[in-house]
C-alpha cells in the first residue's frame, strides 16, 4: 500500500490515476454533447418532448438518483477504510456499494419494462430515441462498473489481497463516473422539457 505516498497534487497523479481521468473526461464530453444535441432537438419539437417527458416517472428517476448517490457514498467510505488498512470494513462497504448499483439496475429494468409494454420504444419519437440511447449507454457503464467492483471485492477478500489502493481508487473513480453521468442525464431527460 505504498500508494499512500503518491502526491496527488502532481498533475500526473490525480486520485485514481491519469488514465481513468482521461476516460472520465472522454465519457463526460460524449454524454454532454449528446445531451446538448437532445436539448437542441427539443427546441425544434417542444410539444413532443414535453408530452414524452411527462410520460416518464420523475419519482423513479429520483429514487434511482438516490440509489446511485448512496452507492457512491459507500464507495467513498470503502476507499477511506482501505487507506486506513481496514480491509474488512472496506469490503463491507463495498458490498453496500454493489447493492446500490444492483437496485439501480432493477429499478431501471422495471422502468424499461413499462415503457416497452406501452410501446414507447426507441423509434417511437425523437425524445424516446435519445432516452433509450442515453440511458442504455449509461446502464452499460453501470454493469461494467459492477463487474469491476465484484473483481475488486474478491481481490480484497483473499488472504493476501491482490488489490492495491491504486486499483481501488481507479475502480472507485469509474464507479463515481457513473454517478456523474447520471447527475447530468437525470435533470435533462426527466425534468427539463
Amino acid at each position: 500500500m505504498n500508494e499512500k505516498f503518491i502526491d496527488h497534487k502532481s498533475i500526473y497523479y490525480p486520485p485514481g490515476g491519469i488514465l481513468i481521468w482521461i476516460i472520465i473526461f472522454l465519457e463526460l464530453i460524449t454524454f454532454g454533447i449528446a445531451l446538448v444535441v437532445m436539448v437542441n432537438y427539443g427546441k425544434q419539437e417542444p410539444e413532443i418532448f414535453h408530452n414524452s417527458r411527462l410520460q416518464l416517472s420523475a419519482t423513479i428517476g429520483t429514487i434511482n438518483t438516490l440509489f446511485l448517490i448512496t452507492s457512491g457514498y459507500f464507495m467513498a467510505r470503502s476507499v477511506n477504510y482501505l487507506k486506513n488498512d481496514d480491509k474488512d470494513r472496506s469490503a463491507f462497504f463495498l458490498k453496500f456499494t454493489m447493492l446500490g448499483g444492483l437496485l439501480f439496475l432493477v429499478l431501471k429494468c422495471v422502468e424499461y419494462y413499462f415503457k416497452i409494454e406501452a410501446g414507447l420504444t426507441v423509434g417511437y419519437n425523437t425524445f424516446y430515441t435519445f432516452y433509450w440511447m442515453l440511458t442504455l449507454f449509461h446502464v452499460i457503464h453501470v454493469i461494467v462498473g459492477l463487474v469491476i467492483l465484484v473483481t475488486v471485492f474478491f481481490g480484497l477478500r483473499k488472504k493476501i489481497p491482490t488489490v492495491s489502493l491504486e486499483d481501488m481508487e481507479a475502480s472507485a473513480a469509474f464507479w463515481h463516473m457513473c454517478d456523474l453521468i447520471w447527475l447530468l442525464l437525470f435533470p435533462v431527460i426527466y425534468l427539463l422539457f
Binding site: H8, I11, W21, I69, G72, A76, R77, L191, L192
Partner: protein, 77 residues
C-alpha cells in the same frame, strides 16, 4: 458527523430540492444549478478531486460550466 456523511446528506437534500424546483415552470436554471452542485459534491469530495492538481479541478469546472450554460441557452430560446 464525518465530512463524507455531511456531503452525502447535502447531496440527498439537493436531489429532493431539484425535484421540488422542477414542479415550477421557468425554474430550469435552478434545477441545472442544483445538478451542478451535486456534480461538484461527487467529483470534489467522493472522488477526492479536491486533493488533485489545479489543472484537473479547473478542467472539470470549465466542462461543467460550459455544459450548464449551453443547456440553459438552448433550453431558454
Amino acid at each position: 458527523m464525518e465530512k463524507t456523511t455531511k456531503i452525502y446528506t447535502s447531496l440527498i437534500a439537493l436531489t429532493v430540492l431539484s425535484v421540488v424546483a422542477a414542479n415550477y415552470t421557468n425554474w430550469v436554471t435552478v434545477v441545472l444549478i442544483l445538478a451542478a452542485l451535486k456534480f461538484i459534491g461527487v467529483s470534489f469530495f467522493f472522488m477526492e478531486l479536491k486533493k488533485a492538481h489545479a489543472f484537473w479541478k479547473i478542467t472539470l469546472l470549465l466542462y461543467l460550466m460550459l455544459f450548464i450554460v449551453l443547456i440553459i441557452l438552448l433550453g431558454s430560446n
